[in-house]
Structure formats: C-alpha cells, structure tokens
C-alpha cells in the first residue's frame, strides 16, 4: 500500500461525491485486493478515530464520505434547510411523487393525480424545486439537487420505507 495510492483513492472518493469500487479500480489502475486494503485502511483511520468528524461509508455500493452522526445536530444549524411548509398541498403531492419515483413525465404525473398538473409543475420549476429535460417530444421531471439537499426529502421518504410502495 503506497502513500500516493491512498491519497489518490481518498481524492477520488471526495471529488466524485460517491463512487463505485469498479470505477476506482479502473481510474486508479489497481487490483481489487489493493483497493479493499486501502478502503479498510481509510475506514479504520476515519471511522474509528475520535479525532475525525467524518467517516467513509459504503451506501448501496457507492463509497462516500459522510459527517459523523454525533455532529448531526450542530451541522443541521449551518446547512440551510428548506422547509416543506412553504409548499401548497398540491405542490407537496407532486414533490412526494417525484421523491419516491425519481423521474416522471407530465403524462405519468397527470395519470396518477387524475388531473392536469401543468400549472403546478410550472410553479415548482420556477421556484427551483423541480427540473426537467427534454426527451423525445416531452419532458422528464425530477427534483433538483438543491431541493433534495435542503429538505432531505429522499431520506425522509426512505425513513419510512416510502421508496418501496407506490403512491399510485
């Protein structure tokens, strides 16, 4: 285990905001055994040391650094969280749909809600809650990263297993 390799893996994990082992192996040009060793080393260094405020986790196959849970409360004071209170009921309905389904077309949203969502989608777009990109003739809608980060909506939905059931 070379020092420069440890540093490279560390830099790659940080800069990528979540990366798979396979990608690290390719990018750093090392074997899986070597990588596993480095990951173990990093987890031992960060996760088990009282001197570090962050830790390396593997969530759903993605390696990423997280703040330690001990500091959750104080960190929630500096990170601006958007309150879900500012949304109207119908806006919230669409936000919850997108939080569980990730990506939907307008037709899909309309079908689930049983009514036209044009105006609400427009409101959500202009307030930076959702974004869209063109696909074929229509658009695909999803929540913006900013909104997800500020409300932690995905974590909220996941907290009660929401991702697993359909709201349909």
């Amino acid at each position: 285990m070379q020092k420069s390799q440890i540093a490279l893996i560390e830099a790659l994990i940080f800069a990528s905001r979540g990366i798979k082992k396979q990608d690290l192996i390719k990018l750093a040009n090392i074997s899986e055994t070597e990588l596993d060793e480095i990951i173990d080393y990093l987890q031992n260094k960060y996760n088990n040391s009282e001197e570090h405020g962050i830790e390396l986790r593997n969530v759903d196959g993605f390696l990423r650094f997280y703040s330690k849970e001990t500091f959750s409360e104080i960190l929630s004071k500096i990170v601006r969280k958007r309150s879900l209170n500012n949304l109207s009921d119908t806006q919230l309905e669409i936000v919850l749909l997108l939080a569980t389904k990730k990506k939907l077309t307008k037709t899909e949203i309309d079908n689930i809600r049983g009514k036209d969502s044009y105006i609400i989608l427009k409101q959500l777009l202009s307030s930076g809650v959702i974004k869209r990109y063109k696909k074929g003739r229509g658009y695909i809608y999803s929540l913006t990263d900013v909104f997800k980060d500020e409300t932690m909506i995905e974590e909220l939905v996941k907290n009660f297993g929401g991702a697993e059931f359909d709201i349909t």
């Binding site: 940080f14 800069a15 905001r17 979540g18 962050i54 990423r64 650094f65 997280y66 703040s67 330690k68 849970e69 959750s72 409360e73 104080i74 960190l75 929630s76 004071k77 990170v79 969280k81 309150s83 879900l84 209170n85 949304l87 109207s88 009921d89 919230l92 309905e93 919850l96 932690m152 974590e155 909220l156 907290n159 009660f160 297993g161 929401g162 059931f165 709201i167």
Partner: protein
C-alpha cells in the same frame, strides 16, 4: 445592415450608452453631457423608426439624460450640489456596468483555464428518528391504511403539513406515534402526518421517547441547545 445588427444588441439603455462612449473614444466623464444626451436621443429615434423594441427603460434614461443636459447648461451648474450628485451617480452606474461587461468577456475567454483544486464536501447525516423497529411499525401501519382504503372509498382530504403540525401539538402530545399514524384515513394523510412529525422534531418542538411517545420539548431545554 451592420447598423441594424448593432442596434439589436442594445438590450438596455446602459448598453447603448456604453456603445456611445466607445464610439466617442473618450471616457464617460470626458464626454459632454449635452453631446451624450443628444446622441442617445438620436439613436432612440432611429430605433423607433426601425421598429426595434424600445422599452420603457430607454425612455426613462432618455428623459433623465435630457434633465442632466438642461441642468448642465445652466450657469454655475458646477456649484449645484444636487446636480453634481446625480451626475456622479450616473457616471458610477455606467462605470460599474462597464466593469461587469468586462468581467463577462474575461470569464467567457477564460472558460478553458483549468483550475487544479476541486472543492470537496461530505454528505451530511441529519438527526434521525428511525430505527429498524420504527420502520417496521410504520410499514404495518401503512399496510392497515391500505386495506382501509380498499374497503372504503375515502375521499381525499386536502391537508397541509402546517395544519397537521399544529394539530399534533394540540391534540397528540403524549400519544404513541403508532396510534397517531394509524388514525390516518389515507396513505396521503399518513405521509403528511409523518412529515409533520419529522418537521416538528427537526424544529426541536417535540421528540420521541423510548416508547415512541410524542413529547414536547421544554422551552428552557431548547434555549441551552441552540446556537445564536
């Protein structure tokens, strides 16, 4: 043709003024106000003749320039402190805008400059209220509601988190989370209720005790906990 092309580039009055300044090859402070005002009016007229979009902002600036011009022609205008003040304000605004335009050009040309240090950050772990047990309880609750929904065609109520939040504070303190959630008549109400409870936890108004009972956070405890 060239003239037309340039006209179309005047998105706002300040763009036209910068164009006039450049054309005169002087700094804005060196061009006599009367000359600037006349030239501005000239271009405005031409723009109107050509049916180009002359927005109200152009008209406002034109009348402002004409006012400055007329004041500048008065004897001893250089002793009129109000005139000097508004003249200075106008110059500063133009100079600022020129600076901004310059920065836009610089940045546009520098887009391929490589910055070698990338900012990094971590994902923040926020306070959690869930555990495996909690998840299980919630899943079961939801299942019950699903069945209820299938049996009775319940009309969906319009609910807002805010309203539900205050309801919880007034009616559900001391109750078990499971019981409170079970009272929901639809999946939607369940979700809104749950979000409301999480929101209250986040706002430090309530907390859940070991038995998942909803408890109110005491005011004095709150103060010693918060920064600022």
């Amino acid at each position: 043709m060239e003239l037309l092309f340039k006209f179309e580039n005047f998105e706002g009055p300040l763009d036209l003024i910068l164009f006039l300044v450049k054309k005169n090859k002087l700094s804005i402070r060196e061009i006599p106000l009367s000359l600037l005002a006349d030239e501005f009016m000239d271009y405005l007229n031409k723009m109107q003749e050509m049916n180009l979009n002359v927005t109200s902002e152009f008209i406002v600036t034109a009348s402002y320039l004409m006012e400055l011009k007329s004041k500048s022609l008065l004897p001893r205008s250089n002793e009129d402190s109000e005139f000097l003040k508004s003249k200075e304000k106008f110059y500063t605004q133009v100079e600022q805008y020129a600076k901004l335009k310059e920065l836009v050009e610089n940045i546009k040309q520098s887009d391929n400059i490589d910055l070698k240090n990338y900012p990094v950050n971590v994902r923040i772990v926020f306070p959690k209220v869930n555990e495996k047990k909690l998840k299980k309880i919630i899943k079961n609750t939801l299942h019950e509601i699903e069945i209820k929904e299938k049996i009775y065609q319940i009309k969906k109520e319009e609910l807002s988190i805010e309203v539900v939040m205050s309801k919880i504070l007034t009616k559900n303190i001391g109750k078990n989370l499971f019981e409170v959630l079970k009272e929901s008549s639809s999946k939607y109400e369940f979700i809104v209720k749950f979000l409301a409870i999480l929101e209250l936890v986040k706002l430090n108004k309530i907390y859940l005790d070991k038995n998942y009972r909803i408890k109110r956070v005491r005011e004095n405890a709150k103060k010693s906990n918060s920064v600022n």
